[in-house]
Amino acid sequence: MIDQALLDQHNLTADEYRLIVELIGKEPNLTELGIFSVMWSEHCGYKSSRVHLKKLPTEGPRVVQGPGENAGILDIGDGLVVVFKIESHNHPSYIEPYQGAATGVGGILRDIFTMGARPIAVLDSLRFGPPDDPKNRSVMEGVVSGISGYGNSIGVPTVGGEVYFDPCYNLNPLVNVFCLGLAEKDKIFYAKAEGAGNKVLYVGAKTGRDGIHGATMASAEFGMETEHKRPNVQVGDPFKEKLLLEACLEVMDRGLIVGIQDMGAAGLTCSTTEMAAKSGMGVVVDLDKVPQREEGMTPYEILLSESQERMLLVATPDNVAAVQAVFAKWDLDAPVIGEVVEGGRARISFKGQVVVDIPVDAVVNLCPAYTRPSLPPGPPPPAPPLEALPLPEDLGAVLLKLLASPTIADKEWVFRQYDHMVQINTVVLPGADAAVLRIKGSPKALAMTLDGNALYTRLDPRTGARIAVAEACRNLACVGARPIGVTNCLNFGSPEKPEVMGQFEQAVTGIAEACRTFGIPVTGGNVSFYNDTEGLSIHPTPVLGIVGLIEDIRRLVRPGFRAAGDAIVLIGESREEVGGTEYLLAQHGLRAGAPPAIDLEQEKRNQDFLLEAIEAGLVRSAHDLSEGGLAVALAECAFHGRGRIGCEVDLRSDLRDDVLLFGESQSRILVTCRPADLGGLLGSAAARGVPAEAIGRTGGTWIAVERSGRGILRVPVAEAYEAWKTSLPSYFQIRT
């Protein structure tokens, strides 16, 4: 009955099939095959990535839960923990941008509240093809509306993130969604199915045929008509999820349940087998008791459906009625569909027949891991020597061009579609270096950021990945937060391509190295392979989500210039580095050269110095230098400040003017301080081996830069602001 064609449809190899037969001691039936197909998929089983992810540091004094659960958990003191994770929803978001992105938000929210935490913040990392192509604009509009539609309705603020544009995402946009929740340390819940005799309850939306990717079987074998095929993208219902969120948090808060697991990828299959496997137990389930949205569903479809907004709970028989009462209050049913049993097997019945009888351990824990062939990345395409690059005559025009480039331009068009203030914790609104949320009733605050420069990782995966970690931490440092933990979303092409595996290995190595230097654990994340369309892989795009802690919110610092007359200090060293820069791309049309070098130890020294200076109250504003270099950073500091104060800067350097203004050397930060504090700030930098120099002062209405007294850049703040502010909306203007 099971032949190669069927295995191909289930993405299982002949070797994997032999292993399945060996593990379960029989030929699987079609339903059982479907279960293995999803549980052993790259998405659920991490087949290609697992051996490499072991390189990541996962331990630290704050770690309550590392990788392996729905989300990572860190202790932030005062009896509180943060629960956070990032997930990709790339493929669905291309097929159906609105629902793909919306259900991406819904899925990550469930990962967080299934652990007993109330989600308090969402951030997204979005990558699209350039917005001058209407197809890309339509994908982007759909994705942003989807995030907005779901997140706003459920009432979790979308507080930040990033949006990048590159033609490599034309046919494969990236939608990575990060969520963070807050919980009391002694009220965390896990996906446990302990205690034989405990009841398994199904809560939330009814099960439909949506999202069954294997459901393209020949109809003859099911006795079904082919028109029952459904698109693979699920449809989200944020209202249902809101009810589910409140009801789940209520039963957890009242201690009414033993364990809980959301039904995400692989739906009912994944949640039942994982919960049982984690507790060394078995489970019996009666599929006739599963609430179904449509008639005539087969066990295969019920088990593999990825209908949204569903959870599985385990409760002692005594508590079942109380749990059901809470769900009834929120207008949700909570039928008992099964029971926890001894023996480590999942026994699932349908219309009185046992349709699945397999050991849960085999499904959940024994998915093979592969060390796939890999090819180390070659050197990046060389950038032409600097002498061969013409020095633009009007550097002011270059600045305006960079400020208007979609990747650098203001993203308000995006984030004002997100409710970024609901729950009234958002202290630093989107657009700054990092989002900052207060913790009600505490002097502490949380900072979080998503970062990753895919052009750097394309040119040099290891350096690019190190920079992604360093930049995320730098962004946190700029608001006065110390990094405490990491989640990552690794977006790559097909792992079956050796060059992609080479990029992946290098990137993971880079992340591991940087996380070790910063002493921060990786508590989980997500790998998204197969980001290939029409044979083209995306740039390797690791996205780092890093969470930081601010001990005293009164010490918070923001990027904008505060007042005229403050001293401007540049921390870090500017070098002759133009490879991989936005300048090289926007002005010279080149994606080439080695990305900027990074010395992780120096980076850490610079950040530690900044944090201490902030804690000592010496810093009035801080902003990191990234895409577009010093000139763009100066402009952004002017834009972010109230009153849009300009600056007068005088630099001393041997670098060529364009490199000096637009080079992207790492580990650099622009800070301002009161003139009276300048001596102290520079003195303590020198004492710590941190390069820092006073480069000018704030004031006026121009972004004015001289080098040794000779003007090299002079642009009115208002004109620069206009270029930066109007660029993105101009692509989306309704044309009548």
Binding site: G149, N152, S153, F239, K240, R416, Y418, V422, I734
Partner: protein, 246 residues
Amino acid sequence: MKFGVVQFPGSNCDFDAYHALSRAMKRPTVMLWHKDHDLRGVDCVVLPGGFAYGDYLRVGAIARFSPLMQEVQAFARRGGHVLGICNGFQVLLELGLLPGAMLRNKNLKFLCQHVHIRVEDARTDFTRAARKGQVLRIPIAHFDGNYYAPARALKEIERRGQVVFRYCDADGRVTDEANVNGSLHAIAGIRNEAGNVLGLMPHPERASEALLGSTDGRAIFESLIFSLERRRPSRRPAARTRARHD
């Protein structure tokens, strides 16, 4: 005085309103469950922001049938104070306690941003702590905040002076640009004829603590506290809660 915040399924600014009233304004505040029939002796009912019943069908359309809304309507008829914020305003329109309706924002996008609103009437129980013409900086967050009423009804609303807040720029000028959602007559908030029911799209609870960037929303809560506590002299003297906004 005691505030009550109504919780519909899908409300999501309920705890924000609770926090602002109980913590920032330091007044007793209780949550009121939509399925109950008991207003628990509150002096002012707050219908909070969010997406009651998912805003399915039409914003506020299903929430108006919640059991508690019968009590709220009776309470309002008796002169009880009702404040509808954002989705709460939309529910008040559906309930018929306030005139008009909401259309989608003129740019057909959800809008979350700080806006300026001008106090058109400082004699209401919701605005006493402000002054006429004062400009408040308060955030909005909505998809359906484009206020609409038929021409004749709008004329009546204006004639009776029911417009309490209008969108304006930082200097108090009512302009098309400042009227971000496209509301008719730049209406951001209106009251009923009797003056005991007010609905507004901006979120005063998001502008009640300095840490969050604005305290201008306090003027509305302070006004209510001042108005209602003055009427009940046995309660805490209202003068202490007087705003510093003049």
